[in-house]
């Protein structure tokens, strides 16, 4: 039966990739629009491809070094002489396949933006269908490639530990893509706004701004490649954690069955997502946001029904059913409650806008406070999902930590739909920018505005979902780490009376704030360089502002890409090396405590930053809609300050923290056998 599920998982993965390729081809066959629109789109496409080239070059260097280390370390310490080699190959496959999914998502996004703008000439429905179908390329490619990779490696090796290597590879790319993308997108955004809007007084997406193309590229880099890699990473990591925990199932005869179970859930999630994607249609009310939300809910319901059927018919323990449903429900609730704190018609945003009339300080204090409150529903959701899945799994005779892992996989199983909705956002955002820059009709811009508003909501929901999913994933990884240590004869008991545990907690708790600071400082440093470049262009060539000369977009694109990737070195080093230093020097228990501390502050910081940033952004937009004095008022000035502070919060540091804690947990689990054998204390 397990072989059947493995083959079905492989087939479903290939089907998903096939559908992604089919949609890729279909989107590319659509009308690319006028010459002017194509010219603007070509700039964005060239910028995106140039960034991907630099990112993947950096990845190759990192991957080669890490693969060699993995091959040597695991080759020496294993009974199987090829263990290290297999682990290294799995690592390279994880990094390469995640990169492939990101490449497909990015290239289709920068191809679909202009086509979506062109389709908007015909109306909302054609434009929405095209943009969403292009977004689904990323969603389908991501889940398809992940499941294909995991099932193939497991079928070939029958060792979940090797799949852990695959997951570590995916996480390495995710760390580079998410943090790098976050730094890139905000560098370009802040620099373009500060010089373009504030100093010169030109509107958003104005082709006279030398940073406008970098800004549009940044939307794709951050929200398509970055977010896709982030969820790919959590998706694989949660599945691998559960596969590793499969051996904790009390009945030895059923251990393989429960090791394969996360791939069963992923397979069902693929089928549910494929069906759900076909049902996303804008209704007669013309509201794309409602279409996206209905698609997500339908996919979740379909997935839940399939899980019920498979668990009951397949003779699985009912504990996994409740755990999967608990994770799924928590994911949906957390996603939608995120919207409460960032929605532009909801009390937190309106209140922050209202008090902005009293200045920037009050705007910051209020937005920050609501950001702190916004942690509550997500944490309660994570706690509820953890407790429900743990105790229900235990009550049905399964390991509780296995139940927690299954809840994470249950939450992430519908990622195909979630990522599709998320990738739709930057496509329509770019479509609006292209329409603006290419001087397309008012009708196109109006349509793009409606599509863009729905994309922003989808982005906010995805961020809440991604952070919560990462929280459950790392809890499962933490359990997997403890389980790996126990397999080596080391019991991870975290007692606060042990000074090494206390030291580990503090060091772990310190890491997410430090990582956040490093990435945000990179944004300000890189933005400063780009601001100087934009000013230089305006000063040396007055024809740019007069509209008679074209700016040098490429220099700004190159500055953003180079700056983002160079700035990644120290944060990436922290993520990979710090857990190893703690583990080898202070021992397995301190490393367990380190992970605990990092997980707790990481989740809290990630939620705070994502939600506060979204809230400040929408408070500014609310004022710009003519409320509380409108544009140019004191309230608006304070709103702009809040939004600028919130930009790196929500798009750079906040979302990167998911990946940070996942990478640190994976490094710890991966190196657990080595650390168990060699540690100073």
């Amino acid at each position: 039966m397990e072989n059947f599920w493995l083959i079905l998982a492989l087939c479903s993965g290939l089907l998903s990739v096939g559908l992604a390729v089919w949609s890729y081809i279909w989107v590319n066959r659509q009308d690319p629009g006028t010459k002017e629109a194509q010219r603007v789109a070509a700039w964005i496409r060239r910028g995106a491809i140039s960034y991907l080239r630099k990112l993947y070059s950096a990845l190759i260097m990192v991957a080669v070094v890490l693969a060699l280390i993995i091959a040597i370390v695991f080759g020496i310490n294993a009974k199987d002489p090829y263990y290290g080699f297999k682990m290294a190959v799995a690592f390279v496959c994880g990094a390469s396949l995640s990169a492939l999914a990101g490449y497909m998502g990015m290239t289709i996004a920068v191809s679909a933006n202009v086509r979506s703008a062109t389709a908007a000439e015909k109306g909302l429905n054609p434009a929405f269908n095209l943009a969403f179908r292009a977004g689904s390329v990323m969603g389908l490619a991501m889940i398809g490639i992940a499941v294909t990779g995991m099932s193939t490696i497991y079928m070939l090796t029958r060792q979940p530990e090797i799949v852990l290597g695959f997951s570590f590879g995916a996480s390495t790319l995710a760390l580079l893509a998410k943090a790098g993308g976050g730094i890139y997108t905000k560098t370009a955004d802040i620099a373009a706004d500060l010089v373009g809007k504030v100093e010169i007084g030109i509107p958003e997406d104005d082709p006279r701004n030398p940073a406008v193309i970098a800004d549009n590229v940044g939307d794709n880099v951050g929200d398509v490649a970055g977010m896709g890699a982030d969820i790919f990473d959590s998706y694989v990591a949660s599945s691998v954690a559960v596969m590793l925990l499969g051996i904790s199932v009390p009945n030895v005869a059923e251990q393989v069955k429960y090791t394969v179970f996360p791939l069963v859930l992923c397979t069902l999630g693929i089928f549910a997502s494929i069906i759900g994607l076909q049902l996303v249609r804008v209704g007669k009310d013309g509201k794309p946001g409602r279409a996206l939300n209905s698609g997500t809910i339908i996919t979740c319901l379909l997935f839940a029904a399939m899980v019920v059927a498979v668990v009951l018919l397949g003779g699985y323990n009912l504990g996994v059913l409740w755990a999967a449903l608990a994770g799924l429900t928590a994911g949906v609730i957390i996603g939608f409650t995120t919207d409460y704190f960032t929605g532009d018609d909801k009390p937190p945003v309106v209140e922050t806008a209202r008090v902005s009339g009293s200045g920037s300080a009050i705007n910051i204090i209020t937005g920050f406070s609501y950001g702190l409150i916004s942690i509550v529903p997500s944490i309660v959701g994570i706690v509820a999902a953890t407790l429900v899945s743990y105790y229900l799994a235990e009550s049905f005779g399964l390991s509780g930590v296995y139940g927690v892992g299954v809840s994470a996989v249950g939450m992430l199983a519908v990622s195909g739909m979630i990522v599709s909705a998320d990738a739709y956002g930057p496509i329509v955002d770019n479509a609006r920018g292209i329409a603006e820059m290419a001087g397309m009709s008012e009708r196109v811009i109006d349509t793009a505005d409606v599509l863009d508003a729905a994309g922003n909501t989808a982005k906010a929901i995805t961020k809440g979902f991604a952070i919560s999913a990462a929280a459950l994933t790392v809890l499962a990884l933490f359990a997997a780490y403890a389980s790996e240590m126990e397999a080596e004869g080391v019991k991870v008991a975290l007692s606060l009376r042990n000074p090494l545990v206390i030291a580990g907690i503090f060091l772990g708790a310190m890491t997410p704030p430090l990582f956040s600071a490093l990435t945000m400082l990179s944004v300000t440093r890189n933005a400063f360089d780009m601001i100087e470049e934009i000013r230089r262009q305006f000063n040396t060539n007055p024809g740019i502002l007069a509209g008679t000369a074209e700016p040098d977009y490429e220099t700004c694109v190159a500055l953003a890409a180079q700056g983002a990737l160079t700035s990644l070195i120290l944060p990436a080093f922290l993520a990979v090396v710090l857990p190893l230093i703690v583990g080898f020097v202070m021992g397995p228990e301190a490393l367990g405590a380190f992970l605990g501390g990092a997980i707790f502050t990481g989740i809290i910081f990630a939620l705070l930053m994502a939600n506060a940033g979204g809230l400040w952004d929408n408070a500014k937009k609310y004022i710009e809609s003519g409320m509380f004095g409108g544009k140019g008022s004191e309230a608006h000035k304070a709103g702009v300050v809040g939004d600028t502070v919130g930009d790196p919060f929500k798009d750079t540091a906040g979302p990167s923290l998911n990946t940070l804690i996942t990478v640190m947990s994976l490094v710890s689990s991966l190196f657990a056998p080595v650390i168990a054998a060699f540690h100073l204390f």
Partner: protein, 254 residues
């Protein structure tokens, strides 16, 4: 090349230029190599207009192309007490230029705008530029400061704009604050309330308000008056601006 005459309001100046109004607007707002920047408002003046106060012919004589053949952008004929010396019969079109150099041309209208709201907000643009609230409609306001002043203060000519007070026009105490060109909202409310409670028709809100203002806050249009007559340049609706002058509308909505 044709030489145009422009009456700039920010700052007040009479200028000869070889640039047509759109080019002149872009040049005037975003500058050339000198990189002077800022919102601009100017009228196109009949090129045959002459007045003893200005040496217009000398200005036109000096307005010749550069050595490389490019047109001369500006020759300043006068920068002092210009508005009062220009006949309103010579005024052709009004141009509103955004900070980034987009230019919108407005024709004058025979009819003054229909009066709505009990209270009004006026930004004087030239020759002085305070921000004033008033119970008077635009015509009465113009007459009060140019033709029939009730105080010692009198202007020979004035250009002003009526800005939107939104809900404050009817309910200064509790009206919802919308898009306003003045930051100190409690003070604005207080001034409006005083107009209701005291026997005055106008109340100065800000003595040194910048002459520039957000175009999106214009309520009805721009008024230009002297001892002889009052001209009105109506502002198109937001819908019309968006549909017909999208680029300008986008820049004006910054």
């Amino acid at each position: 090349m044709t030489v145009h005459l422009y009456l700039s309001l920010i700052p007040e100046a009479l200028i000869a230029s070889m640039l047509d109004p759109e080019e002149f607007g872009a040049y005037y707002a975003v500058g050339s190599a000198k990189k002077s920047r800022g919102q601009a408002i100017f009228f196109e003046v009949d090129p045959s207009f002459r007045h003893e106060y200005f040496d217009i012919d000398e200005g036109i004589r000096r307005c010749v192309p550069h050595e490389d053949g490019t047109p001369k952008a500006s020759i300043y004929i006068s920068v002092y007490r210009v508005l009062e010396h220009v006949s309103l019969d010579a005024i052709m079109k009004l141009y509103l230029v955004t900070q980034d150099g987009r230019t919108l041309g407005l024709d004058s209208s025979e009819e003054l705008p229909e009066e709505t709201g009990k209270l009004h907000l006026y930004q004087e643009i030239a020759p002085v530029h305070p921000l004033v609230v008033s119970t008077l409609g635009p015509r009465e306001f113009y007459e009060l400061i140019v033709k029939y002043p009730t105080t010692l203060l009198k202007l020979p000519a004035v250009c002003f704009v009526e800005l939107s007070l939104g809900a404050l026009a009817d309910d200064p105490e509790r009206g919802e604050v919308g898009d306003l060109p003045y930051a100190n909202i409690p003070h604005l409310r207080q001034c409006l309330i005083e107009l209701r409670t005291k026997s005055v028709h106008t109340k100065m809100v800000n003595r040194i308000q910048p002459a520039t203002f957000p175009y999106r806050t214009i309520k009805s249009g721009i008024f230009l008056g002297n001892q002889e007559k009052l001209l009105f340049f109506p502002m198109p609706s937001q819908e019309e601006l968006r549909a017909k002058h999208y680029r300008w509308w986008r820049s004006a909505n910054m």
